[in-house]
Symmetry: D3
Subunit: 282 residues, 6 copies
């Protein structure tokens, strides 16, 4: 699990969004006042997003101290204290909402991913994410997926070739599309989306690196898996995947199961930050 | 419903996130090829986000034509065609995912807001949003809330004073906090979060503009509403609001009900984009 | 008095503006040379802008030491030494002009504000600023106004509603404009600009938060104040305010007097920076 | 008079500063409403800043039409109509203040410059500006100086060598400083600041391109001018220049007179924008 | 050959670098003057960089007209006219150097690539580029390589796994490194750098997608090619490749030959721009 | 030799270009692993670019330690160790290529400049650079030129006036062009490009600061030098300068010889970075 490069920049924009020209309520508080606070997680969850949370407070005030009791990817049971913070009271109050917004969103992604991963425990398949993400949080959510035990599919349009129905129509055939892809981008993997067994056979013949089985019946998936035995081609199930169907899909023997829901749907984890004043020294 | 100023900038970052150094699969397609496409909404929803959707395609290729059948705020019944697009095939394919990610997320926010708004129809109260938003999508989601019939609370920390428990402890009392707020920022409204009727009375005496009744019982809310009769102070219910409780809260006669869920939880609206080739002219 | 968020960014642009590709004269000086310097204020003034001055030197060279003898808001008598600096000679010379440009401009704003504030001492009214500011120095000047004892009106178009003549014409009436403003932005204060007592009465009836009395005669102001007695509406005098008229205006009993001159006119405070070489150690 | 390169960028920041997340008052007005407006100049002035004014409205709404009756550098007599605007009412209202802030500040600089230029009419000398400018408006003000008939000194630290007292101390002597400057930057002009005739002679001997006579008496200036006769060295008077002294300084025969006041002091020109509704077509 | 996304941004920085606060020589020319100009190529070359050249002039002045006689990738014989330009004289002069700097650098890359490609004509191998590029011109040079008939290796560190000696030491073995790479990034291709046949066998066994034969003798390359027959693994020759050795390397039957020289060494193509005045109309 | 202001910004863009969303190969290595490395220079060279090399590693990981054995401008004999690095293994690997790309490019510029400088040793003339530079590396290359003993001509279009053939045609004559240049920009030096002795005489008469002798024969250069004796005008030879002609040009007695080749042609210095693992402590 590698943290993305753009955390500081993402946080800078989020602080600008929320604090803008200044926190007008924090003005009420004496600038020397110190506080302690703790973040409590109100429900069972998988933790994700410590680096974003830390970055918020450290950009606002680099003297804020944060002590964590857990690591990203840890299972958190309801009502645990995730971390304690101490430092300038204004800074803690100004950063609270932005920091929690990241933590509740990324932990939601990790937690939901973990449910899928747990469902298919014991099977060969792994859970992949998709490009169906919250705008401008792509890399952060991909990180959260790995915290939940999922594996990252391509980041974006630039790092892998994924030939879909419309590309195939435009080029003429699956075989021709794969051939051209190899020629233009010899260092990139080539995946082909197939809608039925006939297309699957063609993609297999043309030696794609990964074949997506889009909305295949369980029976057709099993046939594809059987035909693929001994080959280095990977098979990815896609379409109609939810918590009620994922286990049966894994049982067919596919290598990957891609799930849009883990990144496009969010049920924010319920977090709260409790303050305690630090008596001033004189 | 006013569109925020930052749409073009938000979209520019989202395209960079998804397209980066280039769409390596679009390379397969002849650069002169033209396509048509239509976006279908697979479930009942409230539409929100046309301006973001349009901006994606127009930044990628200003010659793309988009014809919409609906306006933001419209109710969409399942399987309706939202819009049709035509233009360069590569451009349509490169923009598809980013454009849909915005539309599915913002329509989700609008749709969920509408459920709350419908629940309290006939009552005096309005549904307010909160600062519990998806990071870096604050203004976009606030716009989506208005599409669903909600009303915007403060944008951020800069445009209103909201005195919470910790500010009160730091300053000494509710009365003192309001007094200082008036002095420092005479042009901003002052809201106070109260936890019980005693605090409510003090805030009322000190003439806050808005008093938040945080986690009040229905009975205490009714008492607060009764005591407030004839005053220009507005009352905002907050905490423990969900679709099962919102109607009873509205019935107490409060002015505002703020709901974090409408912006922090997302169930992406199910959209898909279908392509049709345009036969080339020679 | 809260410092704005954008100081570092403002200073970065100002350094780029003045230093650009490099200070070609500083090249003449040995890079190891150390100097001391002090900034002298040549006339009576109210100090404002220490944070901007410090930021200039710390962005150019974080090893520069600055020791201040005064705080922002302090009265400075002519020929006082404001601060002493020590460090690399080149860095001190390269930062001198930019740092002084900020200090002389912001102290000018604070000093001029103080003249108005002193004029109305003993009266209930406070001096407000306006949006008539030097382009791209809005927040810095608003801070300087508070150093001079003034109070900030709205920052900008985003944080308060101020209905002017033309908005009223467009909507139909003052009453209708206030009603719509309340509906669209319940968390923002609503001010109405009125040109005569008739408009004042309508705005008062419609319960604006603040009523601007624009170019009212002293007699009409007194009538408006009398009519407003016992109400929570605030009255703001505006138009034709200068040092010769401000005291009489305050005597009418208005709550606020807004003065464009304190931010749009500048008589830069006369500052100079004197250098002293530090003998090198060997 | 060449417009600087950074106008669009300067305006973008100024709009962000004033409009931010949106003009909440403009929301009251129907989005289809059209208006006309005209800008009136309430006092005698030299016009400067049309390009900045235009850029404000065109960035907000490229359909706004602006018709000017004058050019930059023109003398404007009090109560003239500078220009008329027409277009969307919201756009006109949202841009009004930012556009006027630029025009009143830059015209102030041009007008004040013109007073100095007129004072020395008939003399050989020209009025130069300095680096004592409003932060982040350097190039805009330098343009305004040329509108008032002044001439630009160096832009900033990067485009000319100006050896001051402290550089001389650091290097050892005027002669040595000039020698090193020629060596390091053969393509840049070298100016030396001198405090008395002895330093002037040394700088003259060392063949500076320009010699600044800083706070010289009129008599010493005349001596310097006489000694300089027949040489290609230019002489610049500096220090203690105001409207009461500038003519006598010009009479000494110096080539340049540099005046900090024209850019660091501002008495904003009094402008106002008057609206007229356009009756809608149906 | 796909143009990179960042052309406009790259050009904007290059113009700022060269024009900065303004072209002080262009000021001499009347602002209404029109000119024609043509760009002549003084030596045989492969053309590359039209889009960058066009972007320079269109950012400076969108009314400049450019008519090209050739396409990127075309062979240009010495003294051909590449294109003709017409428009405002100042704009043409201000953009000339920046536009030529791009064209001479990118055409140099394409021309040098073409020499390698021609050397191995008739062989199966293709010429690949590397990450040894001019800083901040990576994507532009990769485009130029394709104009010369080369093929792009990975763009950067983000889009492919290339396991080098030091990665292998850190992980323990080639086999283990490939295994972990597959696990962490299933959608990315995995290349391994090998120094000798023993390492080659291990990488082959572990089923890398591409094996780099780094500084192999021609004999060892032939052995590797023979052993690889029938496998889908691609072989890349690297190290010690120049115009005198490339043909023999291609003859061994490897798939790819990567050449650092084509992007890190530049012999700028000799271009010049000739002006012709357009007589003004009155 | 002054380092340019934009190093950190240049490096930030170069890292984004090469690392983007993350170094996917570095993921294989344990995040706690430490390494040592050294950079070896494989050929004789003049060193240039330490600050850029350091900035790459310090932006990626500020704990990386770098110990240099040489200074910029030093002569390096083949196979010397330039520096040793120690710190986190991933950080060292991720920064290697970007850091070397800067060092090999800038040292190439310095090395080539030194060859010209050595050729004219003993003569009065100095080697100047031109604006024919690698796009977006102008200031870095100008610094490298000074490392090789060259001297910088103007940075860009903003800091000096250089009147070329086309400017002269547009204005009417050399005399008129110089006169206008003096008027518009009194603080900038004026150079004129001349094509023959007749133009040289006119430029000399009009008292240009520098006269460029463009493509003059050696004989005409000598005549120009003789005619210029005793004047403060500088003469610059330009056009057709290479290592075989530069000495004879210097012998004519010109002051400057400008050489495009030193910045537009690059033969990257051959550098390599060798790693050594640091045994972990437990």
């Amino acid at each position: 699990m590698e943290l993305p490069e753009n955390i500081q920049e993402t946080i800078q924009r989020a602080i600008t969004e929320d604090v803008g020209s200044g926190d007008v309520t924090a003005d009420l508080i004496n600038n020397n006042r110190q506080s302690k606070a703790r973040v409590i997680c109100r429900e069972n969850a998988i933790l994700s997003g410590k680096a974003w949370f830390n970055a918020v407070f450290h950009q606002i005030d680099r003297h804020i101290k944060i002590k964590w009791n857990f690591e990203d990817s840890d299972f958190i049971s309801a009502n645990s204290t995730l971390c304690t913070l101490s430092g300038n009271s204004r800074s803690l109050l100004s950063g609270e909402r932005v920091a929690l917004n990241f933590l509740q969103t990324l932990s939601a992604t990790a937690t939901q991913t973990k449910q899928y991963v747990d469902c298919i425990a014991g099977h060969h398949a792994v859970i992949l994410d998709t490009r169906k993400t919250l705008p401008n949080l792509r890399l952060a959510q991909k990180y959260a997926v790995t915290c939940g035990g999922g594996v990252n599919h391509r980041n974006a349009l630039y790092d892998m070739i994924l030939i879909k129905e419309n590309h195939i129509i435009a080029v003429g055939s699956i075989t021709e599309a794969i051939k051209q892809a190899r020629l233009l981008h010899p260092t990139l993997k080539v995946e082909v989306e197939t809608e039925n067994l006939k297309e699957f056979y063609e993609a297999s013949q043309a030696n794609a690196d990964i074949i997506m089985l889009d909305n295949f019946s369980l029976e057709d998936m099993q046939i594809a898996v059987a035909k693929n035995k001994g080959k280095s081609i990977k098979l990815e199930a896609s379409g109609g995947v939810d918590l009620s169907t994922v286990k049966a899909i894994a049982a067919t023997g596919v290598d990957y199961i891609s799930v849009g829901e883990i990144t496009k749907n969010i049920k924010a984890i319920d977090l709260s930050m409790r303050f305690k004043e630090i008596p001033s020294k004189h």
